[in-house]
């Protein structure tokens, strides 16, 4: 008698398209997915625990290593939490510089997303182009603070150094070319029928499911929920800028791609406005050499490229945080993988994983 049975397949932790060391246990019926269990922890470094043994200033470089693709946004999240805890007023100029850097890093991060999505779908050239263009942003950061990935540029109370004229001209140069870059991605990927067929109507995540799972960021917005902390819970002078929030309709892979693609142009808009209206003044507030925030706790959220970056810091009045909990958007977004994969094919798993866009440094923390 002929019968079929399901089998288990371990995808990862060593697999070309699991974005690092993620392991996914797939239960398969032929090529159809019955169940997908993400298994994390291969990159666990105990950052939350390590932070307890460091002073508030020493903690900063660790936040770079969480989401290493958008380190600026992590720096920003941590610094604004500490500033809230220690009641430090950040100068306006520093806030604007922070916005510029965070948005530049958001563009860089979305370029990584487009590139990795393309290569997971088999379009190698689609990977090279965004990565090539991301180099320009990295060059800007390199000129700005000397680092290409782990910046530690945004400091408690402001930023490390003022914007140099050369950096401003580099940013202007980049923004002028960004439209051409996005057009190129549109030509190569967005308009490509195979690309569309692969992404449309696959891995649908409805707004209800997304909200129940606590999904945030572009993934949630792709499901049609307008929730962006830059608008809904403004921080860092985001209320000064005029930008819109791209929304998806269905919550399929295609929407997640398009939302991120559109966010890049929106970020460029913000940077342009911030550069045009850059206030003069200090770039750093007066922060004591030994920072001892008052006893208490704080939870502060910012909008990272992957969603809500939250820092919950408990202070016991000493120079070191008593406890730091980090809400990592990739970790929480990755929960949706099972829902997004069930009933689809093996080829869709990699697409779903790409559109979640997890960074394993952040997932495992």
């Amino acid at each position: 008698m002929i019968q079929t049975e399901s089998y288990k397949l371990s995808m990862g932790p060593v697999h070309p398209s699991t974005h690092g060391v993620l392991q996914v246990w797939l239960t398969l019926d032929g090529e159809r997915i019955l169940r997908a269990d993400p298994c994390m922890g291969y990159l666990h470094r105990g950052i939350e625990k390590l932070l307890e043994k460091r002073t508030y200033f020493q903690c900063l470089p660790y936040t770079d290593r969480l989401d290493y693709v958008s380190a600026m946004n992590n720096n920003l999240g941590y610094c604004s939490a500490v500033e809230k805890l220690a009641q430090i007023e950040v100068p306006k100029r520093a806030q604007y510089i922070r916005v510029i850097m965070a948005e530049l890093n958001r563009i860089a991060s979305h370029m990584i997303f487009i590139g990795s999505l393309a290569v997971d779908l088999g379009a190698t050239t689609g990977m090279i182009y965004p990565f090539r263009d991301r180099e320009r942003i990295l060059d800007i950061f390199n000129e700005l603070c000397g680092a290409r990935m782990t910046y530690s540029y945004i400091r408690i109370g402001g930023v490390k150094s003022d914007l140099a004229v050369k950096v401003i001209s580099m940013i202007d140069d980049f923004l002028a070319k960004l439209t051409d870059m996005i057009d190129e991605y549109n030509d190569l990927l967005t308009g490509n029928e195979i690309f569309q067929y692969r992404l449309k109507n696959t891995s649908i995540l409805t707004a209800k499911q997304a909200m129940e799972l606590g999904i945030t960021g572009p993934m949630l917005r792709a499901s049609g929920v307008s929730y962006d902390l830059r608008k809904d819970n403004t921080y860092c002078s985001y209320e000064d800028f005029d930008f819109s929030i791209p929304l998806g309709e269905k919550g399929d892979n295609w929407d997640r791609y398009i939302v991120r693609l559109k966010e890049m142009s929106e970020s460029a808009k913000i940077i342009k406005q911030a550069l045009a209206g850059l206030p003069t003044g200090e770039f750093m507030a007066k922060v004591p050499k030994v920072l001892k925030p008052p006893k208490g706790e704080v939870y502060d959220v910012t909008e990272g490229p992957r969603g809500e970056v939250g820092y919950h810091i408990v202070s016991d009045g000493s120079a070191k945080p008593y406890r730091v909990h980090i809400r990592r958007p990739s970790f929480i977004n990755l929960q949706a993988l099972d829902i997004m994969c069930r009933g689809y094919l093996v080829g869709d798993v990699v697409a779903a994983m790409s559109t979640i866009d997890p960074i394993m440094g952040e997932v495992d923390c």
Binding site: G122, A123, I128, I194, Y197, R198, L345
Partner: protein, 344 residues
């Protein structure tokens, strides 16, 4: 005896050997060996050239340099890679079925090489001019699926097995539209013989007569040789090279060689069936043939470095729901066309 450059050269060689040996049977035997060796040389040399081509073209498309350090313009890069592959440790998975697993790469090479026997490279330059040439090509080409299945099955690896299953599904769905597309060409030329098909294109290439068949054939030959956008069998971002997952070193190199031999034969087949084979003005036939073949290979590479991969169900839907009805329609249209042409 009339013929192209290759035939004249072969005749000269034959007379030379005959003069030396003095025995016609021995010299003919030597000639056969020389011809077989020539085909193997073509395959291996073509693989080296194509790997280099692929890298440079890929580099060009992706806005980077490509290999340019080993030898002049990086020409020796492939040779260096071959040496590296030969020096690699031969890793045999513990659970693999050793004999089946071991012979698969060698077996895969047989259909890939056998197919070259019937290709007309130049006027009269064909190793065996079978009267069922194109039928033979189709039959031999479909044999390679067996090796994919065998390799994937013997590896005892789930990814490999999935790749093997995909290979079978893919070949089955690509063969049929391809056969029907070729049938239209055969109807127009009135022969299954490869040389006759080429000869029928002396005035007009079949791409002009059968444009629809050309498109169907090109798409299904891409499926047949597992090139992007239909490289589902390999699917390195999903199933990690599929049947080849467990192979390394020289064994893997044989897979690689067979893959490029298949790419070349696909290009030759396209040129022979639709682009007039060795026909062309001024230049000798063999040169025209090479120019066309490499242009088709360039087209295939261009496609590979531009498109993403399809999904298995999409690929099968394309071939059964789109290509096959189109191919059948094309046959009907060709039949009516031939009838009207004869009536006029």
């Amino acid at each position: 005896m009339q013929g192209g450059l290759l035939v004249i050269l072969t005749d000269k060689l034959f007379y030379g050997i005959n003069y030396l040996s003095g025995n016609e049977f021995i010299s003919q035997l030597i000639m056969v060996i020389v011809q077989i060796m020539a085909i193997f040389a073509v395959i291996s040399l073509a693989a080296i050239i194509q790997v280099y081509m692929e890298r440079r073209i890929c580099g060009f498309i992706q806005d980077r340099l490509g290999p340019n350090r080993v030898g002049p313009w990086g020409l020796l890069q492939t040779v260096a890679d071959m040496i590296k592959l030969m020096g690699k440790e031969d890793i045999i998975p513990v659970k693999a079925q050793r004999i089946l697993w071991g012979i698969t790469p060698m077996l895969l090479f047989i259909p890939a090489a056998l197919i070259y026997a019937v290709f007309p490279f130049d006027d009269g330059a064909v190793f065996v001019d079978l009267n069922v040439g194109i039928f033979f090509v189709m039959a031999v080409m479909s044999q390679s699926v067996l090796m994919f299945l065998l390799g994937g099955f013997a590896s005892e690896n789930k990814y490999s097995f999935m790749g093997a299953m995909r290979a079978v599904a893919q070949m089955l769905s690509s063969e049929i539209p391809m056969a029907f597309a070729v049938l239209a060409v055969v109807m127009v030329s009135g022969s299954l013989k490869m040389t006759d098909i080429v000869a029928a294109q002396s005035n007009m290439w079949f791409i002009a007569v059968e444009p629809l068949a050309f498109i169907i054939f090109t798409i299904s030959i891409l499926m047949e040789i597992n090139r992007t956008p239909f490289d589902l069998v390999e699917g390195e971002s999903e199933i990690i090279a599929g049947p080849f997952t467990e192979y390394s070193g020289m064994r893997w190199a044989l897979f690689f060689l067979a893959e490029y031999a298949n790419l070349l034969s696909a290009a030759i087949l396209t040129v022979t069936l639709f682009l007039g084979g060795w026909h062309g003005p001024v230049l000798p036939g063999i040169l025209w043939f090479l120019i066309k073949v490499f242009l088709v290979i360039f087209l295939f590479m261009w496609i590979r470095w531009t498109y993403p991969r399809t999904r298995i169900d999409q690929m099968m839907a394309l071939s059964w729901k789109v290509l096959l009805p189109l191919a059948l329609f094309n046959i009907a249209a060709t039949g009516i066309g031939i009838y009207i042409y004869n009536w006029m």
